[in-house]
C-alpha cells in the first residue's frame, strides 16, 4: 500500500515535471530560447482561474488556457521575435526579464500574498480501488498527462504542422530553406507551451487551493533541470528528464532521514551536478546539436 502510494506520488510529480520540461523544451527546440517566463504562463493561467471565481467551470478552464496562450504569443511577438538572431544567452536574460516583469505586474494588480481559490474541488478526495485509496487528483493528473502526451505525439507525427515543427527542431535553417514558415512554427510552439502551462496551473490550483505570483517558479527551475538531464533540445529527452527528476525528488523525500528532508532540494540539485559530471550531454543526445565547424 505504502509502496504503491509512493510510486504514484513519484509518477505524479514526474508527470508534472515532464509537462513543464516539455513546455520549455518545445520552445527551445525551435528557437534556442530557454524560456524562463514559462513559469509566469502558469501563474497567469492560475490568476485567470482565480479572477473568474464563481463562473461555470468551462469558462474558467477556457479563460485559463486562453490567457496563457495569449501571454505566450505576446511574449514571443514583443520580446523574443526582435531578438531571434541574438545569442542564446541574451535570449535567456530577456526571458528572465519578461518573467520578472510579469511577476511584478501580478503583484501590482493582485498583491504579493497567496490568494485562496476554489477550483475543481471534486478532485481533492481519495479514490478507492479495491482495498487501496489513492488521491483522486494524482490519478487524474497522471491520466491527463498520458492523454496530453499521446495527443502531442499524434500532432507531431500525423499533422503537417507537427511534422514541420519536428523538422524545424532538427535543423531550423534547413527547414526554412525548404519552405517552412518560421513565424508560424515558432508561434505554434509558444501556443502549445502556453496550453501545457495552463494545464500545470490547473493541477497546482487544485493541489494547493491558492494562487500566487511565484507559483510557476519552482516548476520552471525543475523544468530546466529536467530539460538538461534529458538532453536539451530533445522532446523525448525533456519528458524523460522530467520523469527522472520527479521520481528522484519523491524518492529523496521518502528515503532521506526525516530531519534532513528539508534539504531535499539541495540534495536534488547536488545530484544534478553529480549527474552532469557523469553525463554532461544529458540522457538523450542528438548528433544534430553538436556544434558544427
Amino acid at each position: 500500500m505504502n509502496v504503491l502510494q509512493t510510486a504514484l506520488d513519484a509518477i505524479d510529480l514526474g508527470a508534472i515535471y515532464a509537462l513543464a520540461a516539455l513546455g520549455v523544451g518545445l520552445v527551445f527546440s525551435v528557437m534556442r530560447l530557454i524560456n524562463f517566463a514559462h513559469g509566469e504562463l502558469v501563474a497567469v493561467a492560475g490568476f485567470s482561474v482565480y479572477a473568474l471565481d464563481g463562473q461555470p467551470l468551462w469558462i474558467r478552464v477556457i479563460a485559463g488556457l486562453a490567457s496563457a496562450v495569449i501571454l505566450a504569443l505576446i511574449m514571443e511577438r514583443v520580446a523574443f521575435r526582435p531578438l531571434r538572431r541574438a545569442e542564446p544567452s541574451t535570449l535567456l536574460i530577456t526571458s528572465f526579464a519578461v518573467s520578472y516583469l510579469v511577476q511584478h505586474l501580478i503583484i501590482v494588480v493582485f498583491g504579493s500574498r497567496p490568494l485562496g481559490v476554489s477550483f475543481l474541488q471534486e478532485l481533492s478526495g481519495d479514490v478507492a480501488m479495491g482495498s487501496l485509496r489513492l488521491p483522486r487528483l494524482e490519478v487524474v493528473t497522471v491520466a491527463a498527462t498520458v492523454m496530453l502526451l499521446v495527443g502531442l505525439i499524434v500532432f507531431f507525427h500525423r499533422t503537417p504542422l507537427g511534422i514541420q515543427m519536428r523538422a524545424a527542431a532538427e535543423d531550423f535553417t534547413m527547414a526554412r530553406l525548404v519552405g517552412i514558415k518560421a513565424n508560424r512554427v515558432i508561434a505554434t510552439a509558444f501556443a502549445i507551451s502556453g496550453c501545457l502551462a495552463a494545464f500545470l496551473a490547473f493541477i497546482q490550483v487544485v493541489q494547493s487551493g491558492t494562487v500566487s505570483y511565484r507559483m510557476g517558479l519552482d516548476l520552471v527551475l525543475m523544468a530546466f533541470v529536467s530539460a538538461v538531464v534529458g538532453g536539451i533540445g530533445s522532446l523525448v529527452g525533456a519528458t524523460l528528464g522530467g520523469m527522472v527528476v520527479g521520481i528522484t525528488s519523491v524518492c529523496l523525500q521518502t528515503f532521506l532521514p526525516p530531519d534532513t528532508r528539508v534539504y531535499r532540494d539541495a540534495y536534488l540539485f547536488g545530484l544534478f551536478l553529480v549527474f552532469l559530471i557523469a553525463r554532461p550531454q544529458g540522457l538523450i543526445f542528438r548528433k544534430a546539436d553538436r556544434e558544427r565547424v
Binding site: 531578438l83 541574451t90 520578472y100 511584478h104 530539460a227 536539451i232 551536478l273
Partner: protein, 342 residues
C-alpha cells in the same frame, strides 16, 4: 615576434577617479544620499565580480549570488559577538568563540566563497552552449536551501541581527576600486585573453590547445572571491541577514546591471550599476506615492520592479550587447585623443 598590447591603465584610472569623485561629492554636498551611494558601490563589487566570469567566458551565470550568500554568512559567523551567536545559533564551541574583526573577515569570507567555487564549479564550467547557464541555478538553489534550513549555523528563516555596521561609503568605495582593478587586471592578463578566445569560438580555442575548463575555473574562482567580498560588504552594510536577503530578486538586479551596461566590459558593468541604481532610487521615491498639484499617484508596490524590467527589456531589444557593448572607457579615451590629435 608577437608583442602584447600595452596595458590599458586608463580604464581603471578613469573609473576609480569617477567613483572617488562621486563619493566625495556625496559626503560633502548630499550626505543624505550616502546610503544609496554606498549600496551602489557594493553592487559594483558584485556586478564586476560577476563580469570577471560571465564577461570573459560568455556564460551568463544565475548562480553568483550564491557566492554573495556564502561571503555574507561566513562573515556574519566570524564577526558576531560570542554571546549573540550563543543566543541566535547553535554553533560548535570553537566556532562560537571565534571572533574576527570585519577587516580580517573580509579576506577569510571571500576566500570561503572562492573555495566553494573551487569545490562545485567543475561540473558547471565543462558544459557547453546555453546549458551551463541553466546549471548555475543549481548553485543558487543549493545555497538558498541550506541557508533557509540549517538553523544551527545560518539561523534559518530567522534573521541574524547585530552584525557590525562597518561598511561606510569609503569602505564600499575601497571594495569597488579593488573589484575594478582585479577585473581589469584579469581581463588584460594572458589567462583573460585565453578565456575570451573560448568565448568567441569554443571549438577554435580548443583547436589551438586552450584548456577551456581550466581557464573557466580560474575566472570562476576569482569572480567568486570578488562576489564573496561583495557579500561581506553588503552584510556589514545592512547589519542583518536572512536566507531571503540575497536570492532571486538580487540575482535579477545584478544580472540587469551587468547586461544593461554591456556584460563584456568592466566599464559596462560599472555603468549598468550606475544607471539602474539611479532608476531604482527614483522609483523608490515614486513608490511612496506622490502628488503633483491635483494629480496624485497612489503608492503601488511592485511598480519599481515593473519599471526596471521594462527598461531592461527595452535596452535588450534595442541593444542586445548592452549600452556600451564590449567598449572600455579607457579605449574610448585613447581613441578620442588620437582622433583629435591631442
Amino acid at each position: 615576434m608577437t608583442r602584447k598590447a600595452p596595458p590599458d591603465l586608463a580604464t581603471p584610472a578613469i573609473l576609480v577617479a569617477l567613483l572617488a569623485a562621486i563619493a566625495t561629492l556625496t559626503v560633502v554636498v548630499a550626505p543624505a544620499m550616502q546610503r544609496p551611494v554606498t549600496e551602489a558601490f557594493i553592487y559594483i563589487v558584485i556586478v564586476v565580480g560577476l563580469q570577471i566570469f560571465s564577461g570573459n567566458c560568455g556564460v551568463i551565470s544565475f548562480g553568483h549570488v550564491a557566492f554573495v550568500v556564502v561571503g555574507a554568512y561566513v562573515s556574519a559567523i566570524l564577526t558576531l559577538p560570542t554571546h549573540k551567536k550563543h543566543s541566535m545559533l547553535a554553533l560548535p564551541q570553537a566556532l562560537e568563540q571565534l571572533h574576527f574583526s570585519t577587516i580580517e573577515s573580509l579576506l577569510v569570507s571571500s576566500l570561503a566563497a572562492a573555495t566553494v567555487a573551487l569545490l562545485i564549479g567543475f561540473p558547471i564550467v565543462r558544459l557547453r552552449g546555453i546549458v551551463p547557464s541553466m546549471a548555475t541555478f543549481a548553485l543558487l538553489m543549493i545555497t538558498h536551501t541550506i541557508a533557509l534550513n540549517w538553523k544551527a549555523v545560518t539561523g534559518g528563516r530567522q534573521a541574524l541581527v547585530g552584525l557590525p555596521l562597518d561598511t561606510t561609503i569609503w569602505v564600499a568605495l575601497g571594495g569597488a576600486v579593488f573589484a575594478i582593478c582585479i577585473a581589469v587586471w584579469y581581463q588584460q592578463s594572458t589567462r583573460g585573453i585565453l578565456l575570451r578566445c573560448t568565448r568567441e569560438s569554443l571549438v577554435a580555442a580548443e583547436s589551438i590547445g586552450i584548456n577551456v575548463v581550466g581557464e573557466r575555473m580560474v575566472a570562476l574562482i576569482i569572480s567568486a572571491f570578488v562576489c564573496g567580498l561583495g557579500g561581506v560588504l553588503f552584510a556589514h552594510f545592512l547589519g542583518t541577514l536572512n536566507a531571503n536577503t540575497f536570492f532571486l530578486d538580487t540575482t535579477f538586479l545584478v544580472l540587469s546591471m551587468l547586461v544593461v551596461g554591456g556584460y563584456r566590459s568592466v566599464t559596462g558593468a560599472v555603468f549598468g550599476v550606475a544607471v539602474l541604481s539611479m532608476v531604482s532610487e527614483l522609483f523608490r521615491y515614486f513608490e511612496q506615492g506622490i502628488s503633483i498639484g491635483a494629480f496624485s499617484l497612489p503608492s503601488l508596490p511592485g511598480l519599481q520592479e515593473v519599471a526596471l524590467a521594462i527598461i531592461m527589456l527595452a535596452i535588450l531589444v534595442a541593444r542586445p550587447d548592452g549600452l556600451l557593448g564590449a567598449q572600455e572607457i579607457g579605449r574610448l579615451y585613447l581613441l578620442t585623443r588620437r582622433l583629435f590629435q591631442l
